[in-house]
Amino acid sequence: MAGTATGVEPRAPANRLRNRLLTFGLLLPAGAWYLVMLVLPLVIILIYSFGVRARNGGYEPAFVFDNYARAISKADPFIESLQMSVMGTIGCLLVGLPLAYFLAMRAGRNKSTLLLLLVVPFWTSFLIRTYAWLIILGPNLGLAGQIESIFGVQDVQILGSSFAVLLGLVYGYLPLMVFPLYVTLERMDRTLIEASKDLGAGRWSTFRQVTLPITLPGLVTGSILVFIPMMGEYVIPELLGVGRTYLMGNALVTDFLEARNWPSGAARAVLLIIVMIVTVAGYLWFVNRGRRTRDVSVL
């Protein structure tokens, strides 16, 4: 965690300058990109959030707080999104962790092929895949029909349920969970586990004391990468949820596109971003706190 971690210790002033330049050069493209493509758009959104809707929709300059008041008074979609995202993240974790473990530790030579096969389904257009899910879960050829005929029950409806939405979310975001986990697990030295076992540690304590700490960065990255975009998702609930779940993403689309009320949408977005940053920061702080003490104890 310390500053000069790459081990290239500055040995002379000339060297130090070169090092500085190198660091600067390494960070320049990403930094510039963030500045232009992220900070500036966010500034625009922030300015818009205090404006009013122009007569024909869009944005008109003003300085009012109405949009925020309105956004706060409509917290329902946010809460529903939060529930969905938490469940979706847990779902991804349950499905993704054993898979990532297998890919990293047991797949051997087929590792890269299996990894590629993991993303290939996602090269098929999202909408087409979702239509396929509609057929799979639907009443005619699909699952609901099968359940009806096997168990002799009537009117089994899977589409439109939270389960269907959750399934869609887990399906759609799985690679974002598996890849970070794989990347950290793949690095893990199997001898560590052997050593732990040799030292008489049980399966659980080996997992807790060896596997988990190593996996943690991947787990944190994965869950953030999955949790956050789920908060803004709106097509999956619209299709697999048959529009019965109204999430944050749907609310933003209603504001920006249907009502053409950019300031109102902007205010909602700003609030969402703030809440999410606080959540992520808190999560990271919580996770890192444990790690730092361990680091210290090792030193």
């Binding site: 809707r53 007569r55 024909n56 929709g57 869009g58 409509k74 329902d76 979609p77 529903e80 239509y131 509609l134 639907g138 009443p139 005619n140 409806q157 589409l159 439109g160 619209e238 299709l239 949820g241 048959v242 529009g243 019965r244 109204y246 749907n250 609310a251 209603t254 920006f256 596109l257 249907e258 009502a259 053409r260 009320n261 950019w262």
Partner: protein, 409 residues
């Protein structure tokens, strides 16, 4: 027939003097010209080869000889003005016939016909509001026109360059969305109504009131609404006898009560697959559009569509030229070309939406023309009300949000 052909020739011909002469020179031929749709391919080399500076006689002769040689029924009028070699269209996917694109390209010598797609009007509007540009022609629905005109997104049209505008049924002309007829050319129209499957219902709904009773009764849990704010509002407002464009707080409050009352009884809100949901029997009724009848519900025998007696909305898609269109000449050429009767007839045969161009009906397949779901009956037409832009009504938006979060219980 003959008379109409002559009229077509005159009206579809270009208006500049040179062009008019070209058309006039051909009127003698019109008697021999059949009314069927032709390929028009013979004319392809004539206009392309005609540079602006060419003497009058050249394109005329070329076009005429082309027509005579192949006996091609479509006398393609040579463009009277130079057309750019490219046209950039921003439209729904597969909304115009590929055949017509080919013909247009050939006739006007376009090198490139760029067809970009959007998935709904709101996206088009948002892109224009954000400042996107570079497209020539788009086809927004009419209720978006006033806002687009006022925001300066559209080009003022010189209607004398679109003579085929005269073929449009007066019902669709000079209405509130373009009162002075300066910005848009009607494209096609349709209605919002009730789709149903008669065998799954005790009785077939004929009005919004019966629809309402069924939702709360036998069709509870089996009714779908399209996910479109303005279309959903038609049902309570028309049932109560108000304008579907109402923004009156009192009227909207009453509409809200009805919407919240039916929300738990709905199967869902969905504009993508409601036809399929009805086809497989999950839903027995829908508040929706006619398109699905010819698609997912094509083989469903007991399907039906009704324009409720209290009336409903019609929508009209329109052709517009965007303010900063990089290829205005080609855009004008397109707007006039697409409303030639035989070309427009092919459009309707292709996209199955009613054409506002009466002359084109002669080229529409009889089965399509006779389908009341595509071409509403005279009686149904009387009860139609055009949708207006009510996106600025906060109350409507609030109700719409509240309704959406209550759907399905």
């Amino acid at each position: 027939m003959t008379e109409r052909d002559i009229k077509d020739l005159l009206t579809q011909g270009p208006v500049s003097r040179r062009g008019f002469l070209a058309a006039a020179g051909l009127t003698g031929l019109s008697a021999t010209i059949a009314a069927c749709t032709g390929t028009g391919g013979a004319a392809s080399d004539a206009p392309t080869a005609a540079p602006t500076a060419a003497p009058t006689a050249v394109p005329t002769a070329a076009a005429a000889s082309g027509a005579v040689e192949s006996a091609a029924p479509t006398v393609a009028p040579a463009p009277s003005y130079a057309v750019e070699d490219e046209l950039i269209m921003y439209n729904w996917a597969e909304y115009i016939s590929d055949e017509n694109i080919k013909k247009f390209k050939a006739e006007y010598g376009l090198k490139k016909f760029q067809y970009d797609v959007f998935d709904n009007n709101d996206v088009l509007m948002a892109k224009l509001q954000g400042g996107a540009s570079g497209y020539d022609v788009a086809s927004p629905t009419m209720n978006y026109l006033p806002a687009m005109i006022e925001s300066g997104f559209l080009q003022k049209l010189d209607m004398s360059r679109i003579p085929n505008m005269e073929l449009i049924n007066p019902v669709f002309r000079k209405q509130w969305w373009d009162p002075t007829e300066e910005y848009a050319v009607p494209k096609d129209y349709g209605t919002t109504g009730i789709l149903y499957r008669s065998t799954l219902l005790p009785s077939v709904p004929t009005s919004w009131k019966e629809f309402y009773d069924l939702i709360k009764g036998e069709a509870s849990g089996k009714t779908i609404f399209v996910k479109s704010r303005d279309d959903v509002f038609i049902f309570p407002l028309k049932m109560l006898g108000y304008s579907l464009n109402s923004v009156d707080p009192n009227e909207l409050e009453q509409a809200r009560q009805i919407l919240l009352e039916v929300a738990p009884h709905l199967y869902g809100l969905d504009s993508n697959q409601y036809g399929q949901t009805m086809a497989d029997g999950t839903a027995s009724m829908a508040l929706g559009w006619t398109g699905e009848l010819g698609q997912s519900l094509k083989d469903t025998k007991d399907k039906g569509y009704v324009v409720p007696t209290e009336g409903t909305a019609f929508w009209l898609d329109t052709w517009v030229i965007l303010a900063d269109a990089p290829h205005p000449e080609a855009s004008y050429a397109w707007l006039n070309f697409i409303h030639r009767p035989e070309i427009q007839g092919e459009e309707t045969n292709f996209n199955l939406y009613a054409t506002p161009n009466d002359a084109a009906k002669a080229y529409v397949k009889p089965a399509i023309l006779a389908d009341p779901a595509i071409f509403p009956s005279e009686e149904a037409l009387k009860n139609l009300e055009g949708q207006e832009d009510t996106s600025d009504s906060t109350q409507r938006n609030d109700i719409w949000e509240e309704f959406q979060s209550k759907v399905g219980g």
